[in-house]
Each structure stands twice: as C-alpha cells, then as structure tokens.
Symmetry: C2
Subunit: 224 residues, 2 copies
C-alpha cells in the first residue's frame, strides 16, 4: 500500500533502478481492465506482482458472506508476497491497470542470489506490516466518521490523487471502502454525508473529494 506510507522513509522501501531492471528481465507485463481478476484466493501462488499503474483491491470473502478488503494497491506496490503456497486473497483491478508478473521461482532464485535485493524486499514487507498494524488501529475505532476521515487522509497521499493539495481521488466504490473500513455500506454513506454537512469536505461526484476544513479533518483522523 503505497498510501499509508510512513511519513518518513518511503525511499527505503523503493527499489533502485538497477534492481528494477533486474526484476523487469524476469517479468511479463499485464494490462488489466477494470474488474479483471489477477488471482483468486486459494489458487496456488506462482508469482508475485508489481503494480506499475492504476489501482487494485485485495480482498477475501468470509464464510458469513461478508467481504473484507485487505488492501488497495497502487503504483510501485508489490503484492502476492504475503502468500505462501496458496494465495489467501483475491486481487482485482478497480480501474485500467498495468502490472508486472514475477514468477515465484525466478524471483526466489534472484533473492537468494542478491542479498541487497532481498533486503529491499524485507524492508518492503516490514513496512507493510507496520501499515497493517496502523490499519488495525484504524479499524478498531468506534466512530465511522473517524475511520472515514483517516481513510481520506490516507488516500490523499496515494499516487492517484492529484498533486493539488486538498484534492483526493477515490478510485474505489463506496462498497469497497466499507469493506476496507469494516463498516456497512450504509454507515459509510452516512459518514460521507455527515462530513459533507459539517463542511469538512466536499464530494465532487462519487470519486473526487475536496478538503474544506483541513483542521477538523485532521483532528477527526487523529482522534483515535
């Protein structure tokens, strides 16, 4: 998740150009249209993927019929790593997306060869683990408004949001957001309206947000 990047050392997580070239040599390019599924949960894990452009969601369908979105992936994100033998999540594009596919066998061989590349991956996964913990706190909150505020803040830092400060792009559906935040669709809907009514943000269509009152948004987001 490149959004959620710890505001400090994203560079440590990224790969060098040389490493990128190395990886590219064993990679095949995938062009994904919206709703296209990269892999399904339970499938045997045969590759790791890097998102080069666009956005995807990683989710899991629970026995009780609910769906849990575990992560959104954007440019430069590596996914499929956290699996072992079998994928535990399903990954699906939510807009036109370009990914690179790294066969697991080649990748493992490369990692066992190149300690530095390996270390980069270690940092990457470590970083993801921190984010996962961060999100655990996010989801643990009681207030729907607070969760949504945090989510918007996170999305503002995503590669897909325009460079204009205060403008946030949300490529995913409300349902996806609900499944990500551990809320019902209705609660997300109500929370967005409340944030709107309170003059904290302004929704320009379903996928674009403008921050009106930064101060209160931050306070809501931070008030864990």
């Amino acid at each position: 998740m490149s959004f959620l990047k710890t505001e400090g050392q994203p560079s440590a997580v990224l790969l060098t150009d040389r490493q990128r070239r190395e990886l590219t040599s064993i990679a095949t390019r995938l062009d994904l249209s919206p709703r296209r599924i990269v892999y399904r949960e339970q499938a045997t894990a045969e590759a790791v993927f890097i998102c080069a452009e666009g956005a995807l969601k990683s989710y899991r369908d629970l026995p009780n019929g609910k769906r849990r979105v575990m992560a959104f992936w954007f440019r430069d994100d590596i996914y499929g790593l956290a699996e072992n033998g079998r994928y535990v999540n399903t990954v699906q594009a939510i807009m036109p997306t370009v990914c690179y596919r790294l066969p697991l066998s080649s990748l493992v061989a490369m990692l066992l060869q190149d300690a530095h590349l390996n270390f980069s991956f270690l940092l990457k996964v470590t970083h993801e683990l921190r984010e996962s913990q961060q999100r655990m706190i996010l989801v643990g909150r009681r207030s729907a408004r607070g969760r949504l505020a945090t989510f918007l803040t996170l999305m503002e830092a995503s590669p897909l949001s325009p460079r204009i400060p205060g403008t946030i792009h949300l490529p995913m559906s409300r349902t996806d957001i609900a499944n990500y935040l551990g809320l019902s669709l209705e609660s997300v809907s109500r929370a967005t309206r409340e944030l709107s009514d309170d003059g904290i943000v302004k929704f320009v269509g379903p996928h674009s947000v403008r921050v009106i009152d930064r101060r209160r948004l931050s306070r809501l987001a931070a008030d864990v």
Copy 2:
C-alpha cells in the same frame, strides 16, 4: 539456542545451524522479570529481539487514552523487526522471560552478507503479515464471544499452553486480552462468563481454561 525453529506452520522460519551460530555470536541475553519493559514506543530502534522463553506484549498507547495490544510474543518469536528508525510499540514482559538482543547494525550487516539468512527473515515477516491480516478479520468481527473464542483457539496453539489438548494457558490479564481484541474489559469478562455458562469452556482460575465443547468453540471461532 532454539529460536527460529519450525513450529508446525508451513510458513515458519527454518534456519541452518550455521545461521543460528552466526546470530548467537552477535546476541546478548536478557533476563526479564514480569512488567519489565524491553523498549518503549518512540525510542530509536537499535536492536531486534528474539524471545527464547516466557511471554511479552507489544502495545501502543493511543491519544484518546486507550491502549492497543498489537501482539503477544512467545518462544521463538522475533520482535522489533517491524520498526524502522524508531520503535512504534512498547514491549513489556508479562511473566519471567528470556530474550536475545541482536544489535540492528550487526544484524543488517549480516543480512546484507547472507542472502539465505535474509530470505529466512523475509519469510518470517511475511508470515507475520499474514497473521496480522488474519487478526484484522478477527478484530473486525462484531461479536465479543466470537472474538474471544478465536483468541482462545489461538492461545491453545501457543508454546505456553500445556501439551494436553483442551487445556489453554493465558499468561496475560483480562485487560490485555481486551486491549488485544479491541473490546472493553467488561465485555471480555462478560464473554468469558457466557462461554462458561454455555458449557463451551471452563475457567480454572483466571489464567487457565479447559475446553469442554470443542465443536461449539470451533464453530464460534470460525463463524467470522
């Protein structure tokens, strides 16, 4: 030193004897009495730790005054890895505990040297990430009973529980459990009583549990 052994999980980390010796050579032993703090959040991260015996909790105090327990660590667990520059959690022993301290600089040097060791760590963190996701689902549940049932199931597999099937040892306090499950102390207390009243488990003192109706416990735990 027996840390980093395969513990049944296919994803568990497996180190060679040579790697084990290498790590031992840079480690110093720590003997911790209960409540002893290993490191505090915000402190600069200078070492990674391996628990060799006992149990610890990793927690974070939130601005709103609540405490969130992020993890419990037992024998063979590595902690302090998920930090970067500064620790984000506080780690504290919850019973007499033995840990080994690996200075970050030495460890990093070693990892950059030894791709195989590095890969083992990558698998370890990857495994932890999966567990974290699993727990995200756990915490996302609505029912306190269900969360507690899952927790008991998890704890039954911990190294501290007796080998006798159906007997679970809980070294931590109810408050710790509550902070781990994202519930109030009272809710945990009530949930334990309900599980007791329903004849699903039997509490023998605050720290020992016996499974009475395995079938229903599993069903509760799995009914996500």
